[in-house]
């Protein structure tokens, strides 16, 4: 691919990323809190390539979400969709009429017009596709967890490492590229919340997790998440994102994981638990409590990091800080908007639509560039293709370590017991 002359695009993108969070403090002191700007993800300033032609391999629900989101990413084109199930290709033709459709990923990889692939197949199928994609010279975005075994995760990570000079690799740990999560990460790492006390996370969503198809053979394949032989369970498929965030925010790896699992609602012959909990002890001695269930939807998803000076809560795209009454004043919180949660007052770290409406602003006027975590992740992938390759915010090492963490968490849940973590497991040799 020929190199283009240097342009201003690199610096514009650099500025966009560093100024986003600092912009949050500019719009009215009673709305949002001025917090540390998110650190820049990219540093190169030379645009080497223009638009990116992308193939999505795996057109299940998440593959479809990726396809629609890519439609809003500048310079990205969904050039091809691949799925081994004809019904999915029919859906692809309906929703993405401009994209070519394939039922064999190897045909996609042999197409020179395809720059990169997004691997969104069932987890246990990632390895071969990713390795073949690297061999074909394609840039790769691989969904998280990368693999259902540590061996496969290591194989993917090592291949990414071997190709890092010429090919982009990014894993689908969305929050590493999300400006809100990155800004709060800086906030926590700056010590503003004091010493870590404990943290907790949850993901509650009442659903059976079953998939159905008129084709019985396909139906068995579609229900891989409920197949104990290949599934990493709730901890792998869902928990990985929360476990990863905890590790990232604390900047520590786990030293032990104690797991609990049960079937609370969906007693339909499945062997994969519909409710899973872990208690994780981190290197610094603090514990993280994670609850995941398919049996109750109350309070959906949230993450709470308790510190000796303040507690941070993250819900959807919003964050709040709850200060201890004896914590030192930071100054700006006097002006910040506060939301009441029962008896506690949370200092809003991000504005929301209700507040905006009270000021007669439309929802999109607060941040006309507001986007989902998935959009930010896919944008980062495309930008890395254009300006890189450079180490991704969610690269192979983060992908590998979070994968190990999630697999071990799932093992602890299955055993209903404790696993002492060997630091060597997290090393990519």
């Amino acid at each position: 691919m020929s190199e283009k002359p240097a342009t201003d695009h690199g610096r514009r993108n650099f500025l966009k990323k560093t100024s986003l969070a600092s912009m949050l403090g500019v719009w009215g002191s009673h709305e949002v809190v001025r917090i540390q700007p998110a650190p820049a993800i990219i540093t190169p300033q030379t645009k080497r390539r223009d638009g990116m032609n992308i193939a999505i391999i795996g057109f299940g629900p998440w593959g479809r979400e990726i396809a629609e989101t890519l439609g809003q990413v500048e310079d990205a084109t969904v050039a091809a969709i691949c799925d081994n199930y004809p019904n999915m290709l029919r859906r692809a033709q309906r929703s993405m009429p401009d994209a070519a459709t394939f039922n064999d990923y190897r045909e996609v990889l042999s197409d020179d017009s395809i720059d990169g692939v997004i691997v969104a197949t069932p987890t246990h199928m990632h390895r071969q596709i990713v390795l073949d994609a690297f061999d074909a010279g394609k840039h790769v975005y691989c969904e998280a967890p990368m693999a259902h075994t540590i061996e496969d995760a290591a194989a993917i990570a090592r291949a990414a490492q071997a190709h890092e000079e010429e090919l982009v690799f990014q894993v689908g740990l969305l929050y590493h590229t999300d400006p809100q999560y990155r800004s709060v990460h800086q906030f926590v790492r700056s010590g503003a919340t004091g010493n870590p006390v404990f943290a907790r996370g949850q993901w509650n969503s009442k659903q059976s997790w079953r998939r159905v198809s008129p084709n019985r053979e396909r139906e068995i394949a579609q229900n891989w998440r409920l197949d104990a032989d290949v599934s990493t369970g709730l901890m792998g498929e869902i928990g990985i994102h929360l476990l990863d965030t905890a590790s990232w925010y604390l900047d520590e790896l786990p030293t032990s994981i104690t797991g609990f699992g049960s079937i609370a609602q969906w007693d339909d012959g499945r062997t994969v638990d519909d409710t899973a909990q872990v208690v994780v002890t981190f290197e610094g001695g603090s514990n993280y409590f994670l609850n995941l269930t398919l049996a109750s939807s109350f309070e959906a998803r949230n993450e709470v990091f308790h510190g000796t000076s303040a507690t941070i809560m993250l819900r959807d795209s919003k964050g709040w800080m709850f200060k201890e009454v004896d914590a030192p004043m930071l100054g700006w919180e006097v002006y910040a908007r506060k939301d009441r949660f029962y008896k506690d007052k949370g200092i809003a770290l991000v504005a929301n639509a209700t507040q905006l409406d009270a000021q007669d602003m439309e929802p999109w006027e607060d941040d006309p560039n507001a986007q989902t975590p998935l959009w930010h992740a896919l944008s980062a992938f495309v930008e890395n293709f254009q300006f890189g390759p450079y180490p991704a915010a969610a690269g192979y090492l983060a992908g590998y370590q979070s994968n190990v963490f999630a697999i071990k968490a799932n093992e602890a849940v299955i055993q209903d017991g404790k696993i002492d973590m060997d630091p060597a497991w997290f090393e990519l040799t």
């Binding site: 079953r210 795209s317 639509a353």
Partner: protein
């Protein structure tokens, strides 16, 4: 034959799907996938979420053309066609007027003539340009905003029904907030799904006397719009939240309008338009070839209604019906 019910909250209402078939586990799985599609569409089409594709349009389309995905573009094309079919009585750009009258989050406020004129200048589907070759959308007037709430539920149910059919479900009833209903096939042993339409002020009574008519649905959709909820009184006059997008003023069109057609997106839009037009809505029915039947309820007195019907019949001995007029 088993019956399974699944539900979720989306678009500020409760969506429910009733499925019939042999295997309840597989029925539930199919229902969940259909509900997931509804929630996905909410994320894409929400007026209130800054991250939705619609919000991106509203933020940027007045400055430069915005490319949208194929499904959203097709929906916008349908919205434009429905706007034309209803001679503007249905208009998804009505948000500035709703805000002007205080109906977005409050119970209403009486605006000045100037405010209405300014809001009217920012209303009108004619200002939305759709470029079919590139799927670009442009707003040719600053301040234009698309709010697809008037067809969102119907469209979501249509897409959910498509998912169910694709998964092999043959008998199901889907609804969003009970005001938009989509019927797949019919229940076991019956010709159709039967839906009772009650007087708008008796929807919660569930008595036989409260039922005006029963609609039989098979592979069809039904939407009901009614004048309820937000209203305020000024100088002895009540101003409801049903606005005529063409004049910018609340109307006393109809108390309730119901439409049956093959697609739920159309029934959603058309029931809204009939609420605006009231008894003059016959032209809308004549212009819409997919409408099978309709009912328009207009106030005859404080307690009675004039009922305008097309291909529907009322229950016998209705004391609250002043007259029945075929249209």
């Amino acid at each position: 034959m088993e019956t399974v019910r699944v539900a979720c909250r989306a678009m500020a209402t409760r969506f429910e799907i009733i499925l019939q078939g042999e295997d309840p586990v597989r029925l539930r799985a199919a229902g969940e996938e259909a509900l997931a599609e509804i929630q996905h569409l909410e994320a894409q089409l929400s007026f209130y979420r800054p991250t939705s594709a619609l919000s991106r349009l509203n933020a940027k389309a007045a400055q430069s053309p915005v490319k949208v995905d194929a499904r959203l573009f097709r929906l916008l094309q349908r919205a434009k066609a429905l706007h034309a079919q209803t001679s503007g009585a249905f208009d998804p750009t009505v948000a500035p007027l709703m805000r002007c009258w205080g109906f977005v989050n409050n119970t209403g406020q009486f605006p000045s003539s100037q405010a209405i004129d300014e809001a009217l200048a920012r209303t009108g589907m004619r200002h939305v340009r759709l470029e079919a070759k590139t799927r670009h959308v442009t707003f040719e007037q600053p301040g234009i905003a698309l709010d697809l709430g008037g067809i969102g539920k119907g469209f979501a149910l249509e897409e959910a029904a498509w998912v169910l059919r694709d998964l092999g479900v043959e008998r199901a009833l889907l609804h969003g907030g009970t005001s938009t209903i989509c019927a797949l096939g019919a229940p076991e042993g019956e010709e159709a799904w039967h839906v009772a339409l009650s007087y708008p002020d008796e929807v919660d009574s569930h008595t036989p006397e409260s039922v005006i008519t029963v609609v039989a649905l098979r592979d069809e959709a039904l939407s009901v719009s009614a004048e309820h909820g937000k209203a305020f009184v000024k100088d002895g006059k009540t101003y409801g939240h049903v606005l005529d997008p063409r004049t910018g003023w609340p109307v006393d069109g109809a108390a309730m309008a119901a439409v049956v057609a093959t697609d739920a997106t159309a029934t959603d839009a058309l029931s809204t338009a009939l609420l605006v037009e009231g008894e003059n809505g016959q032209s809308i029915l004549d212009a819409s070839p997919t409408i099978r039947s309709a009912m328009i309820l207009c106030h005859a007195s404080d307690t009675t209604y004039d009922v305008y019907l097309r291909d529907l019949s009322v229950q016998p001995e209705l004391v609250r019906v002043n007259q029945v007029v075929p249209i």
